[in-house]
Amino acid sequence: MEKRLYFIFGDVLSNAAIGGLAGLGAAGLVSAGWNMLIGMGIGMIVGMGVSFLALLVFCPFFGAMEVMLPTMLAGMLAGMVLGMAASMQTLGLSQAAGVGALIGIGAMLAVFMFNAKLQGEVG
């Protein structure tokens, strides 16, 4: 498990940022009254696209796979949830970004826990 504060800070920052941006993008693109599945699908694509930003912005500072995989998950989940939510009701952009950031941190914690389970010698 990663215990160095610099990398823990980087993980929180990158996942919150990607989750927030994915939420913002999804809520900005999807309007209330749209089909929920279409909203979710658009949100997912937006989230995946935003998470590619992580490769360029965050990987050079905080790591490769350790940044790439959690942020892709964070972007995808935040985009899906906020895209679906935006199809059901009008969302404020700051509200969408905040919820997206929280989803991003949640995704990061889930990856942390799964990683802890898989760590070490196999078999």
Partner: protein, 207 residues
């Protein structure tokens, strides 16, 4: 020589250190030091790239480092010059190793077999240059067995392989398919980044 792969990594050399020299290397430093601390005897290191891994080599070793890319090796030269030991850099394609059979006690790789176009043929070449019972020590990223990571890595691979590595290689299985005995696999991050240790057969099986 595989000129397509060579050209790809020559292009990648320009921005390679910008993307990899700080975050990824700092993140992996403790585990790479742990793996490379096992070096002894005559060592082949594949692929040395811009030489970012040289900082983790224990001193006073006898190491031959190879890479397919001229541009990568040009960047590696200053780092190799600072190494406190014997370190020779050669431009070579792992598929066409011009090194003699049974030469090395150990082969080390670092994020290499995500990029070798024919990994089993490449690993067989490493087996040939290893002495019987010689050790293969790898620090590699591979595909994952777990959803959603396997899906994400599979989705990324068609894009990532245009500019760099594949993200979904089955490297542990490929090591076995090439005729090595895997002795230890240690997960570094999820089941994606891992250290793989294996042994070449102690002698050729009778015909």
């Amino acid at each position: 020589m595989d000129l397509v792969t060579k050209e790809k990594w020559d292009h990648a050399a320009a921005a390679f250190d910008l993307m990899s020299a700080y975050g990824p290397e700092k993140r992996w430093a403790p585990r790479k030091r742990e793996l490379f601390s096992q070096m002894y005897g005559k060592v082949l290191f594949l692929a040395v790239g811009t030489g970012l891994d040289i900082q983790f080599f224990p001193s006073d070793q006898d190491i031959t480092g190879i890479d397919i890319s001229t541009k990568m090796l040009e960047k590696a030269q200053p780092r190799a010059a600072q190494y406190q030991g014997k370190l020779e850099l050669l431009e070579m394609d792992v598929h066409e190793l011009t090194l003699a059979d049974n030469t090395f006690d150990q082969v080390f790789t670092s994020c290499t077999f995500c990029s070798v176009p024919d990994p089993i043929r490449g690993l067989e070449a490493l087996k040939r240059v290893l002495k019987p019972g010689g050790q293969l020590c790898m620090f590699e990223h591979t595909g994952s067995h777990y959803f959603p990571f396997n899906m994400l890595l599979n989705m990324m691979t068609p894009l990532s392989r245009r500019f760099g590595p594949d993200m979904n290689r089955e490297t542990v299985q490929n090591v076995e398919r090439a005729g090595f005995s895997v002795t230890r696999v240690t997960n570094v991050f999820l089941d994606v980044v891992k250290m793989i240790e294996a042994e070449a057969p102690s002698s050729e099986a009778p015909a």
